[in-house]
């Protein structure tokens, strides 16, 4: 996707999200005027901004749009943006199914192993995670974390 297309896409998403919410609020949920006043004000501002952004994505030069955007660091083929997003997406299910200790440690060992880190760095990363979760948050600060798998909880 080019920068121009991306800018137009983001403006379209903003417009779609806000207008859908406002239309649902008026016609489906039927909020009273008192309840809807402020969301309508902020939503209208957002719709105006989105329309402006959509128009601007055609009128601004490509260079202007590129200057505004931030580029993510590039890595080797094992670190494409898609693969990074996939790695992120497995954290939540792992933590939910196996609990915070086992889930996060499994993620850490799999991730550092996939990227070929030396054994001592993999071990150190695992130890830091264990220390932060179990010793730091759970024991010292007394935060009731789901240490055990969620399906074993009452």
């Amino acid at each position: 996707m080019t920068c121009r297309q991306g800018n137009f896409f983001s403006a379209a998403v903003l417009l779609l999200f806000t207008s859908t919410m406002l239309l649902l609020a008026i016609f489906n949920w039927e909020y009273s005027a008192k309840v809807l006043q402020f969301p309508l004000m902020s939503g209208s501002l957002l719709v105006l901004c989105a329309v402006w952004l959509a128009i601007r994505s055609f009128t601004a030069t490509e260079q202007e749009l590129i200057d505004e955007s931030e580029v993510f660091s590039e890595g080797n083929r094992r670190c494409s943006l898609l693969k990074r997003a996939l790695w992120l997406s497995v954290i939540f299910p792992l933590g939910y199914v196996f609990g915070f200790i086992a889930g996060l440690l499994a993620f850490s060992f799999a991730y550092t192993g996939y990227h070929g880190l030396p054994w001592w760095q993999r071990l150190l990363t695992g130890f830091v995670i264990f220390a932060v979760v179990y010793i730091g948050f759970y024991k010292l600060l007394g935060v009731p974390l789901p240490i055990e798998p969620m399906w074993m909880r009452d």
Binding site: A25, S73, V132
Partner: protein, 510 residues
């Protein structure tokens, strides 16, 4: 004067000093760990003070609370993760400096600004305690509404390269802030039959998702946070860099003083200060700067501004807490709980009977801020080395901090899910140059704006904005916007001229 001396004597007691030394590292730890923050720190520590002598117990609570945002600035600058939501504004330029290998410099400036801001906050507390009543009482709902509006006026300033994208992000924040129960009528909005959304979106998952996830995605490329030298060697981090940073906040004293005073002022008004102050002072620092184009790319003024106000606002928030028993921020509610637990009732009678203790607490604020910052300044060189670690090693550790931090705020797994949802939005916003701080500021200010507008209209009628303080604040807002417009126009012209000159030079050399 006698009260002030007695306050100093209270502070200089060995047991108070000892408790201060114990509380500061605890508070710093709560600040460094994402998601915890001052509110969690006070709620965890509150039961511990039971049975203590009042000044000792209160010194323990206040000292640990006062340094939380100092600790949070370390995580914000080094890792790009807000230790607490109030540190989110520091990320913009602090993390940018870290990426350029200048983490030590940014840390030095942030920590010294925190310390000096905290001292300025305490000085204002000293000055205001005897005369506080008319100052706080002059701020009703209309004035608070205009203060929130002042914050909104900085949205476009937070937009970085494109003011319209700043405004759009702020408007999205305002809109998302309206989800959940409306405070004035109790009607839940936009909750789509999802129970979690009845209370609206939560601030911590939003802040962690918006700021931490995009930076972690970046780190997953395998590169370290700090840039490397052209020859591939890592940047050196020295004590000298840290002290140069500390010096920078003294050299730019007007940025610091202005931000701190603004921070105290915002902290003073119940319900406004805690999360708003750093963003407002960031916007104000950018507006007043001679080099606004450097903001967002690693401007040291962009670190000094929010950090100066971050600790100063605590002094301001203590004023209504001590003088009226009205909590100046959500964390102050718990501090009032501490007072009650220790057999004291803050309010006008408290100041009448225990003015020496109130002054003693102001001294505790000074002491905690100075000790907290000094400890971290001495450790900064070693802490900054984190930025040299390989990204593949840091990413799982940071993800752990984010997941655990998000969960521990409400012990709710859905918060973790929302971190990743907001993370996806944050990645898109970063990629296309939308201002993430503007979204957060809009989100924080939405309930304030709505509630105070509603109360003002119902209590004072349609002409509520004609009250004197409102008019002064309106003048500030309009004046600021006009000045920002002129400055931006001038800057745009200069940049255009510079580009044209470069092009001409290029064609001449050919």
């Amino acid at each position: 004067m006698t009260d002030l001396l007695n306050g100093l004597m209270n502070f200089a007691r060995w047991d108070v000093l000892l408790v201060l030394l114990a509380a500061v590292p605890v508070g710093l730890l709560f600040g460094v760990l994402p998601g915890l923050g001052g509110l969690v720190a006070l709620s965890v520590l509150l039961p511990l003070v039971y049975g203590m002598e009042p000044i000792v117990g209160l010194a323990f609570l206040l000292a640990s609370y006062a340094v939380v945002s100092t600790g949070g600035s370390v995580t914000a600058i080094l890792l790009g993760i807000p230790g607490s939501p109030s540190n989110a504004a520091t990320i913009i330029d602090g993390y940018a400096l870290s990426r350029r290998g200048r983490a030590g410099y940014a840390l030095g400036a942030a920590l010294s600004s925190s310390a000096l801001g905290g001292v300025i906050g305490a000085v204002v507390l000293f000055a205001l305690l005897p005369i506080v009543r008319p100052v706080v009482m002059s701020f009703g709902s209309p004035e608070t509404f205009f203060l929130a509006l002042l914050g909104i006026s900085y949205l476009a300033m937070l937009g970085g390269g494109s003011p319209i994208k700043g405004l759009a992000a702020g408007a999205l924040g305002l809109f998302l802030g309206t989800f959940g129960y409306q405070s004035t009528t109790g009607v839940p909005r936009f909750w789509m039959d999802i129970d979690y959304l009845l209370d609206g979106f939560r601030l911590i998952p939003l802040a962690l998702g918006m700021f931490a996830i995009p930076e972690i995605i970046d780190l997953m490329s395998g590169q370290s946070i700090a840039a490397k030298r052209p020859d591939g060697r890592p940047m050196e981090i020295t004590h000298k860099q840290v002290w140069l940073g500390a010096r920078a906040s003294v050299v730019r004293k007007w940025v610091l003083i202005r931000s701190s005073v603004l921070g105290v002022f915002l902290g003073l008004i119940p319900g406004v200060g805690s999360e708003t102050a750093p963003f407002v002072t960031y916007g104000a620092a950018k507006q007043a700067s001679k080099r606004p184009y450097q903001f967002g790319k690693g401007s040291i003024e962009g670190v000094i501004g929010p950090e100066g106000s971050n600790n100063a606002k605590d002094g301001g928030a203590l004023v209504p807490t001590l003088a009226f028993g009205v909590p100046g921020s959500s964390a102050m509610v718990l501090l009032i709980g501490g007072f009650l637990l220790l057999g004291l009732q803050p309010g006008p009678k408290f100041l009448q009977d225990h003015m020496d203790m109130a002054y003693g607490l102001a001294f505790v604020l000074v002491g905690a801020n100075l000790i907290g910052s000094l400890v971290l300044l001495l450790l900064a060189k070693h802490l900054a080395k984190i930025t040299l670690l390989p990204g593949h090693m840091l990413a799982p550790i940071l993800l752990t901090l984010v997941v655990v931090g998000a969960y521990s705020t409400n012990n709710n797994f859905t918060d973790v899910l929302f971190v990743f949802i907001f993370g996806a939005v944050g990645i898109g916003m970063k990629a296309y140059g939308f201002s993430r701080p503007a979204l957060l500021l809009g989100f924080v200010l939405a309930p304030l704006l709505e509630t105070y507008l509603y109360i003002s209209l119902n209590t004072y009628g349609n002409w509520f904005f004609l009250r004197p303080i409102c008019l002064v604040l309106a003048l500030f807002i309009v004046g600021g916007a006009v000045m920002a417009g002129i400055k931006s126009h001038k800057e745009h012209k200069e940049l255009k001229a510079e580009k044209a000159l470069k092009q001409q030079e290029g064609s001449n050399s050919l």
